[in-house]
């Protein structure tokens, strides 16, 4: 099953490589990984999406917890949560394509953030399925470049992941 694990990590050199190393060492799979500092400069927040049997997921969380620099972690998929991913796409847009692309972008509540004679650069945010669906709905051959941020997530309601 797909899981989103959120980790508070000491903001120290080498901490990220320990997390990534753990996944490759133990043959766990990483679908996406995002990491950035938090409002507390001493901490980074890392979100990893992964998949595996319950047994594997249990091991992933336990092994992550064993890393000295991991301060706290939560498996967001265990409760209600919000996930978002940002995607930017360069699309071929000439002639009648221009109107069509614009309509599709509107449907997905995306934005055209840069324009040339022949190219639109589009930004779409949402959960990963929505981004996949957007790509699928664009005519084949028009997609020139895709960049995705990877998933970030947060629990719904009053639950917070903090010190």
């Amino acid at each position: 099953m797909r899981r989103i694990i959120s980790v508070l990590l000491e903001n120290e050199p080498g901490a990220l490589s320990r997390v990534v190393g753990l996944f490759s060492q133990r043959n766990y799979n990483i679908e996406s990984l995002t990491v950035a500092p938090t409002e507390d400069a001493s901490l980074s927040r890392l979100t990893v999406t992964t998949s595996g049997s319950d047994k594997v997921i249990e091991q992933i969380t336990k092994q992550l917890n064993k890393l000295i620099e991991v301060v706290k972690l939560v498996d967001l998929t265990e409760g209600a949560h919000i996930e978002r991913e940002l995607m930017m796409v360069k699309l071929k847009a000439v002639g009648s394509q221009r109107g069509e692309v614009k309509r599709t972008v509107d449907i997905y509540r995306g934005q055209i953030v840069d324009v040339t004679n022949s190219v639109y650069t589009v930004q779409v945010a949402g959960n990963s399925d929505k981004l996949d669906a957007f790509i699928k709905s664009i005519a084949e051959g028009s997609v020139l470049e895709v960049v995705r941020s990877g998933v970030s997530g947060i629990a719904r309601g009053e639950k917070v992941l903090s010190l």
Binding site: G14, S17, G21, Q25, K55, K62, N65, I68, V71
Partner: protein
Amino acid sequence: MELLSGADMITHFLADEGVEHIYGYPGGAALHIYDALFRQDKVQHILVRHEQAAVHMADGYARATGKAGVVLVTSGPGATNTITGIATAFTDSIPLVVLCGQVPSTLIGEDAFQETDMMGVSRPVVKHNMAIRHPSEIPDVLKKAFYIAQSGRPGPVVVDIPKDMTAPNERFEYEYPSKVKLRSYTPPMRGHSGQIRKAAEMLLNAKRPVIYAGGGVIIGGASAQLIKLVDRLNYPVTCTLMGLGAYPGTGKNSLGMLGMHGSVEANQAMHNADLVISIGARFDDRVTNGTDKFCPGARIIHIDIDPANISKTIKVDVPIVGPVGSVLNDMHAIFDELAGQPDQDALASWWKEIDQWRARHGGRYEPSTQDCIKPQHVVEVLHKVTKGDAFVTSDVGQHQMFAAQYYKFNKPNRWINSGGLGTMGFGLPAAMGIKLTHPDEEVVCVTGEGSIQMNIQELSTCKQYGLPLKVVLLNNEALGMVKQWQDMNYESRHSHSYMGSLPDFTKLVESYGHVGLTVRKLDELESTLEKAFAMKDELVFINVYVDPAEHVYPMQIARGSMNDMWLNKTERT
């Protein structure tokens, strides 16, 4: 507060931490530290002949005492040479602090002379590693290193020290930090009382119980609590390769070792149990055999300090996360309160069944003859000559298994072997670390002619520091364990398992300044060992030629259940 250079802070810290010996080898990036060592006399440095041996020495010391062993090496090749030793300690949860020189911080990343990314290289085989980024951090980082290495589930910690951090003319305030602050690391101190109660009740209700004790009992110093548990319930107990000595090997409830080369009664009892309590053991693949066939009728209690060990390979019914000693103390308190007794009739018939398995113990071997000495027999004679009281280290192979099976360890911390990683070359340096700190105890390395050659250069270190340990070489003129697998699985095609061109060990040992003895005939065996152990002040190396055709039995049949075993070359369970 004193003003000290980074290098002097390191030696002062080590002295303040109570470290008496460090093991190491100098080189460019570590020279400021070596100079600081020269100018003090509290910490004694032992100069090895290869950095791997320095780590095994520190490891042997740590296994015998429970305290972290300390290593000092230079950058690049000095640091990479420690890796096998660090991985050995990591796999067996042994506390070490490994101080590695590094090129000056200004050169890091420039492919400088003797630069390797030791943080990256060591990462998968350490409990933690840290780099010094400013000399003033040294006391705190070292304190953290010792704390992390020795607490919770112990393990090796590497500290990477760029040369400019130890520069002699830059001085900073030094104070020994008595406390450590680590918000992200809180090892468990107590087990969950509800779970412990549940386990105690299950234990009292069991009809076919087995206590399965591992290295965690030894590392956790919980041997007394284990013995008390066994005595109070009169339950059978089996120890893993790492747990031997946690319960006395000659004790009446001991089933000996379990697992791949475990005894028939231990593996049968496990397979037929209705309750297994694992104490400080981790259901290693060398114990469980086929996990899908493991202990089919048993409910399982698992006490372990590392939550990640719970249900990692075998799903357990009652997990208890905590230090084994404290968990067992709590459990004893609950037993005192419950005051119940196990079903004595059920227990009596369980013991009867176990005694029947014992009676047809597959570990028996054909007797030696005058011209063909059995390796098992050598270990039994060694046990007799040392009154079963020596520290015994081993290397890896058949000799290791014979030592584990036939030297009945009655005390914890006396059987010192690389169980998890299986590192040939471990035995001699580990014995050196023990002898150095236990000069009045007998310390013996049981080895093979393959393994001993992986760190034989350390005989020179033994001479320099006067370490009169004993080496018993079970010389089968082959990489015996490899050859056994080739006999059993590859129709005896002995691909590269024959050790041709062996040195004359007696001459070799003599050239290092020690005493070498050779045994070829059975009637020389005991007298030669007696003679060797009578030479209290000499390192004596006894080269015993043993039956080259011998195999280690019992041996579990791969992927079967625990009790699927070869008993000898032709019979199986």
